[in-house]
């Protein structure tokens, strides 16, 4: 059991972790999530007594780490795969750690077998790949057969087989009644491994709940409803009927409607009683990844921008229009995680309406208007350079991005928005 109370760490003027309180319980895999630089590793180091907190405290089984009489027998940790002396062989590295806590030497060979490094045990760890380094770090964590295990990004650099192995190892360790605390920025990985989630952003707690609750609180499940394109008045009629019944209706760019707050049969009934024909009525479930991105979008420190390549371009003669560029999926996205993009290529019917140039709308191009989404480069304008600079609104000022942000259904985006306030006031 790990218990943090009001944990705070400041490095000069920068606050890496602020007032973090949480508990990690035995018998479950607890995922520790956050964007890069959100304070995950700092928190891990404070748990292990490597860094002293500026305020607050953290205990393991009731003791501060540095008071534990034989720490490796109670807590095993993988902090950093490369935290080894590269000139020492894997076996000697583990042997020196085993001797430090009075663990018999035969245990070293046991854990080398567990992580599958027995064949390279006598090789210097300098030549190890990142995945082998991770395995060595996991072996060091398992050495003391501890009750509490901490892993910082354990699957970094592992091959798919290794990832599966780590996943099963975590679950097996938790099933034995151990406390397993795993940090990651890979939500998809955590969705498969963790039972419980602690999410931080900019050093503060964003969520502390089970994976199931996390998804249902933060995901944006919705129904996509499509009325006949040829009769716009039907669409308005349906919108009115659905809103009256308590649903939220948001139009999508291609004319479909995104409905939240109403079950599918009810939507169908409402459409029927409003005498509206439906061309599509389909459920859409958000993944854990999307729920996570939506929650942390206000707390991301490092964000990529569109590569303008302005310095590499030749000056165009006046009046000339640069050739339109194909947008690249995932690049130059607006500052916030976009609402679920219209399903490209997955449309069940051939819709007459399409993008302005006869091409389907660019991926990631949200509809303007209610979503507040800037158009993606190339989606509406032939000149991406004229468009791109304006296409990066401040994340905090962006309107509520998704149906999930509707006030009654999701309380969680509010703390994310609040997060920016102390930063701005500084």
């Amino acid at each position: 059991m790990i218990e943090a109370v009001g944990l705070t760490k400041r490095y000069g003027a920068k606050t890496a972790v602020y007032n973090l309180s949480f508990q990690v319980r035995p018998g479950a895999v607890t995922g520790f999530l956050g964007p890069n630089g959100s304070g995950k590793s700092t928190t891990m180091r404070m748990i292990l007594g490597l860094d002293n907190p500026s305020a607050g405290h953290v205990t393991i089984g009731g003791f501060p780490y540095r008071r534990l009489p034989n720490a490796p027998r109670q807590v095993g940790a993988l902090l950093d795969a490369k935290a080894v002396h590269g000139g020492r062989s894997a076996r000697n590295h583990l042997l020196s750690l085993a001797q430090l806590s009075g663990i018999p030497a035969r245990r070293v060979d046991e854990v080398l077998g567990v992580v599958g490094l027995q064949d390279v045990a006598r090789k210097r760890s300098k030549g190890f790949s990142l995945g082998m380094g991770q395995r060595l770090g996991i072996a060091a964590a398992l050495l003391g057969d501890p009750q509490v295990l901490l892993f910082d990004e354990p699957v970094n650099g592992l091959d798919p087989e290794g990832i599966l192995w780590v996943r099963n190892l975590m679950k097996a360790l938790a099933a034995e009644g151990r406390t397993v605390f795993v940090s990651s920025h890979l939500m998809s990985e955590m969705a498969l491994t963790a039972d419980h989630l602690i999410v931080i952003g900019r050093g503060q707690l964003l969520a502390d709940q089970s994976v199931k609750d996390f998804i249902s609180h933060n995901s944006a499940d919705f129904a996509r409803v499509r009325t006949p394109e040829t009769e716009p008045q039907q669409r308005e009629k349906l919108t009115a009927a659905l809103t009256e019944a308590g649903g939220q209706v948001l139009p999508e760019q291609d004319g479909a409607l995104r409905v939240t707050g109403l079950p599918l049969p009810r939507i169908s009934d409402l459409a029927h009683s409003a005498d509206v024909r439906l061309w599509e009525l389909s459920p859409h479930q958000a993944s854990l990844e999307e729920a996570y991105m939506r929650m942390t979008q206000g707390a991301v420190d490092y964000r990529s921008t569109v590569d303008q390549k302005a310095g590499l371009q030749q000056q165009l003669p006046p009046g000339a229009v640069p050739p339109p560029q194909m947008p690249v999926a995932g690049q130059g996205q607006p500052g916030w995680y976009p609402p679920l993009p219209p399903q490209q290529g997955g449309q069940p019917f051939a819709m007459p309406q399409s993008g302005p140039y006869g091409a389907p709308p660019a991926p990631g191009a949200g509809a303007p208007g209610p979503y507040g989404a800037p158009a993606a480069p190339g989606a509406t304008d032939a000149n991406p350079y004229a468009q791109a600079p304006a296409a990066a609104p401040a994340p905090a000022s962006a309107p509520a991005p998704a149906p999930a942000a509707a006030p009654e259904s999701a309380p969680t985006p509010a703390p994310a928005a609040d997060l920016t306030k102390p930063e701005d006031a500084r």
């Binding site: 606050t15 860094d51 001797q99």
Partner: protein, 281 residues
């Protein structure tokens, strides 16, 4: 420091609907022993002998001291050792060899900081003072043994070359010479622990070894600083080592110089311990 931030209400650890029944937590079948300094000594012994830098620095030290010692000894005659002990040929090699001990002393601790190994070590033993103490003991034992053997070997070789001639007893110079070099290495270890950076610590120690021999030349130019310069020259590592081997300008036995070095090393070790407990890793 940032302006005080408004207290943010944390989402309390709410709704633990997944609580585990008490008593299910895991206990290891391997018996838990209470750790002590002996464990740390074992571990540090494994560490120091399992890296190549130890073999390289100690190997170079032995080659310098014994190699140069034998070469010098072969050029001497029995007449040369009327006043001086048979270990003097080792002195020439030690002038260079002491830099190997400085390097090894620094590397014993700073290589752990350089590679990140220190985080693993201090996670495995949060009693940081115990780790540093074990490092100091193991390093001192290794350094003293190796240098005493090297100096003794040179002394034996020289005395066997000039077996008929009388010479002052040289057992004391073996002990004091080895002690001097080991204390210099211990000081380096403490400096390495404080600076946490191999190159920085080695450069600092080079300054400590060489500057007191260079600076007096400039200090002597001024009348007011002349006495400082003379003292500095007397206690500079190179002339201290010369005094230990009785080849100094006067009849100094090197005891005062050894005392000063021991004091400086002790102060550095204390500072290293204090900083070690306070700083983040």
């Amino acid at each position: 420091m940032s302006t005080p931030q408004p207290p943010m209400p944390q989402q309390a650890a709410a709704a633990p609907d997944w609580q585990v029944a008490p008593g299910t937590s895991y206990t290891s079948p391997i018996p838990v022993t209470r750790t002590h300094l002996g464990h740390a000594l074992n571990s540090e012994w494994t560490k120091i002998k399992s890296v190549r830098s130890t073999m390289w620095t100690l190997g170079t030290f032995l080659v310098l001291v014994i190699g140069i010692g034998f070469l010098v000894a072969a050029q001497t005659t029995g007449e040369d050792f009327r006043e001086t002990p048979f270990t003097v040929p080792a002195f020439i090699g030690l002038l260079l060899g002491q830099l190997c001990m400085v390097t090894l002393g620094v590397l014993v601790v700073s290589s752990e900081y350089g590679t990140g190994m220190i985080r693993t070590t201090f996670t495995a033993s949060p009693q940081r003072h115990r780790v540093l103490a074990a490092k100091l003991i193991i390093f001192f034992a290794v350094a003293f043994t190796v240098s005493a053997c090297a100096i003794g070997l040179v002394g034996l070789f020289t005395s066997s070359l000039h077996s008929g001639d009388a010479s002052p007893s040289w057992g004391g110079t073996v002990f004091m010479g080895a002690l001097y070099v080991s204390l210099l290495g211990t000081l380096s270890l403490a400096v390495g622990s404080m600076l946490r950076h191999s190159a920085g610590a080695i450069t600092t120690m080079l300054g400590v070894v060489l500057l007191p021999s260079i600076l007096p030349a400039f200090l002597m130019l001024s009348d007011t600083l002349r006495t400082i310069g003379e003292k500095m020259q007397e206690y500079a590592p190179i002339s201290s080592l010369a005094a230990v081997f009785r080849v100094g300008p006067d009849d100094s036995t090197g005891a005062a110089q050894l005392g000063l070095l021991a004091g400086v090393a002790a102060a550095a070790v204390v500072a290293a311990f204090v900083l070690l407990e306070r700083r983040d890793v």
